[in-house]
């Protein structure tokens, strides 16, 4: 009889220790990598976190060489898809999405895209208002120049917008001081769009062979211009000193005539700005790529004070690999999340994500992607609860797919 009880006890213990859905912690539900896509290649561009706790993920889909459109995914915070749709017209590629803060379309989202025109390498800019369900509500098409490329859109508190970008349709009168031998390739471009989507002004900003406005930020009383160009800075002279540096300025009404406040960059080494953001405590971090040689580049960062008047600069001390800066976002405790493409010796890139302090110390860093494939970062963001969301494009078995990576605040899945 005792044997039966013993056997029953052992069997019960065994069965009670069985892993079932109720006993296994489903870590994968909250922290994960999720891929989104359809036939062909889908490449990530940007995402926003909505008040409904969904993520609107913006990308582009290339189903064949003749079919390229914007691609939108709406997912919940567990990565489950609520909607997937294509937007815009053929040969239209998304570039940025931001929430609309004010005006008639407040509560919706503005999508910036570039539409390929018939001429080679020629694009027009389109703004599309979409709902939080991803439905296209209206759009605005800007095609005043032979070619224009939007890089970012900034919705303002009065319902108007800044579009930052560049144009190859340069204004020769603005570039008269360029030395002979330096080809004027592009001008920085800023569009100011009224709440009714009419153009308030467009400004080409010259004085350099190459350059772009990356982002206009709205300050309390002024606007902040962040871009890059190869203008001479300080006491530099001579054609050889036309190399790229970060360029920051404060303006009230005209970004072209705004005072040049300050630059950031190392003399003799080119730095191109990739992104800028403002921390919770008011400081700004601008990140870009400093090219040291044909085989070495690194993430160059400029920490700008809250009044947008001076910067402390540093190279992010990551490692000896090659990096291309991609995006920066505010994180808790006046820190910043930075994402970059880490390029290996074979020229393949991985997605690098790190959090840096205002002393440029990384308190975590993590890499996604494999050495045989090209994986590229697009955006990093901290959710209100401290979770980290990374958007990128990962190459899976010869096809690009949009990758949403959600991490704990320590940068790990577990």
């Amino acid at each position: 009889m005792k044997d039966k009880y013993l056997l029953g006890f052992v069997v019960s213990i065994c069965l009670l220790s069985c892993d079932i859905a109720g006993t296994v912690e489903p870590l994968f539900k909250q922290y994960f990598i999720k891929y989104y896509g359809e036939d062909g290649d889908q490449r990530a561009v940007d995402l926003v976190h909505t008040p409904e706790n969904t993520l609107i993920i913006l990308g582009n889909t290339v189903r064949s060489s003749s079919s390229q459109r914007m691609y939108l995914v709406i997912a919940d915070l567990q990565g489950n898809v609520q909607a997937e749709k294509r937007l815009g017209v053929n040969q239209e590629l998304a570039r940025d999405i931001e929430p609309i803060l004010a005006g008639p379309d407040a509560g919706n989202y503005i999508v910036l895209s570039n539409v390929k025109k018939n001429a080679a390498d020629s694009t027009a800019i389109r703004l599309t208002v979409i709902s939080s369900q991803g439905d296209s509500l209206k759009s605005f098409y800007y095609n005043a120049l032979a070619s224009q490329e939007g890089i970012s859109v900034t919705p303002l508190s009065d319902g108007s917008y800044f579009i930052s970008g560049k144009t190859t349709d340069t204004d020769a009168s603005l570039n008269a001081e360029l030395p002979i031998g330096l080809v004027d390739k592009e001008d920085q471009l800023v569009l100011y769009i009224n709440p009714d989507y009419s153009v308030n002004y467009n400004k080409r900003i010259g004085g350099s062979a190459e350059g772009a406005c990356i982002k206009i930020l709205q300050g309390p009383t002024s606007s902040y211009f962040a871009g890059y160009s190869d203008k001479l800075i300080g006491s530099e002279t001579g054609i050889s000193n036309y190399e790229h540096n970060f360029e920051f300025k404060v303006f009230t009404s005209d970004p072209a005539s705004g005072s040049l406040n300050f630059n950031a960059g190392t003399s003799g080494l080119p730095e191109t700005l990739s992104a800028i953001c403002q921390s919770n405590t008011g400081t700004f971090l601008a990140v870009g790529t400093q090219t040291v040689s044909a085989t070495q580049s690194r993430v160059y960062a400029a920490l700008i004070n809250a009044s947008f008047s001076s910067a402390v600069e540093s190279i992010l001390p990551i490692s000896t690999d090659n990096y291309e800066a991609v995006h920066v976002a505010p994180s808790g405790g006046s820190r910043f999340l930075v994402t970059a493409n880490r390029i290996n010796a074979a020229g393949r890139s991985d997605i690098w994500v790190g959090r840096v302090t205002t002393e440029f110390v990384t308190d975590f860093q993590v890499v996604f992607g494999e050495q045989n494939t090209d994986d590229r970062a697009s955006k990093v963001m901290e959710l209100p609860n401290g979770d980290v969301v990374v958007l990128g494009t990962m190459n899976l078995s010869n096809q690009d797919k949009i990758a949403l990576i959600k991490l704990k605040t320590n940068g790990r899945f577990e």
């Binding site: 069997v11 489903p26 994968f28 891929y35 997937e84 797919k401």
Partner: protein
Amino acid sequence: MRSVQAIVGAALIILTSLVSLAQEVTCEQVLNQATDEFNAGRFYGVPGMLANCIRDGFTREQRQRAYLLLTQVYLLLDDPIAAENSYLEVLRANPEFITDPAVDPIDVVYLSKKFTASPVFTFYGRAGSNVSINRVVYEILPSSSPVPIETKYVIKPGIQVMGGIDWNYSEHLAISAEIGWNTTTYKRERFNIFGRDRHEFIERSHWFQVPVMVKYSFDRFYKSRVRKFLPQAFAGVSIGYLFADKGELQVFNNNLGDNGLNTIIASSPSLDFLPYRNRINTSFIIGGAAKYKWKLDYLFAEIRYGFGLKNRVSNTTTFTGRPMQEYGHVDDYFRMDNLSISVGFIHPIYKPRKLKKARTKSVLKSVKKTGDDEG
């Protein structure tokens, strides 16, 4: 000279064979003579007659008969110690010898109930094939699709080689422990990924297994008179340690192009999946076997089912590394059941010995029953 040596050698071999044959015949004759002496009631000379052949002349079967004769002799001579020793020798000659009340004298039958040769320990080995059945705890889909993603697990054969030992607690009940190696294999197919793609994943795992079981041996199959095949049932727990795990992925990237459906197939090399697995797994096992007696040993065939109790997938590495980040593969959380069929060989370590408590009740019952039948 060589031919002379060959002839002499052959003669020696033939002579030796003849001498040996002559001795065997002699011991058989001695045994027959001793039996005749016993039947004639001349008991005292029997041990002396058998002494030489017992020392170095009897075959195993002859030894059994000789010692059984001596047992009867000593019982009749009222020498119980010598009788018991003789019966122990009977069991050493044939550990499976059982007295038959219909044939053997009742006092020998009675004496036999004080002894057993049943094995305390039994060694065995088995080998065979198995299939694994995955029990999904959580399905994890790493991608979205306009069409619902479907997953199918396909069983594939594995093999196992095990050795074990039974500690025979009683005639029917034993506690058994095994150690050995087995492989488990399965294929997972996932359809409609990104609308049209298909993923195939084959995993091959190598385990050390240590099952511990309670076994119950039956005397016969239900109501069967055949005792050549003996059934056995068992249940227990198996602890498995995963020491090697390889997986291969194939991605069928199907795109609807201008010329219809184009498929690009990407295959992974053999990837190490140990980092993605929990190394220790436990199973609750049940099974049955049929033993076939072969001389003093057994051949057996068994079937067993192991209910996997633990999630095999490490939940800390689900999305890391090449499988996910190069091929878009992620494992479901799953337990793994295993159905195996084995054949094997059992070698009991017989131990003839006197019982602490004689099992004589059955003899008395048998005698009483026989008496009733005759009356």
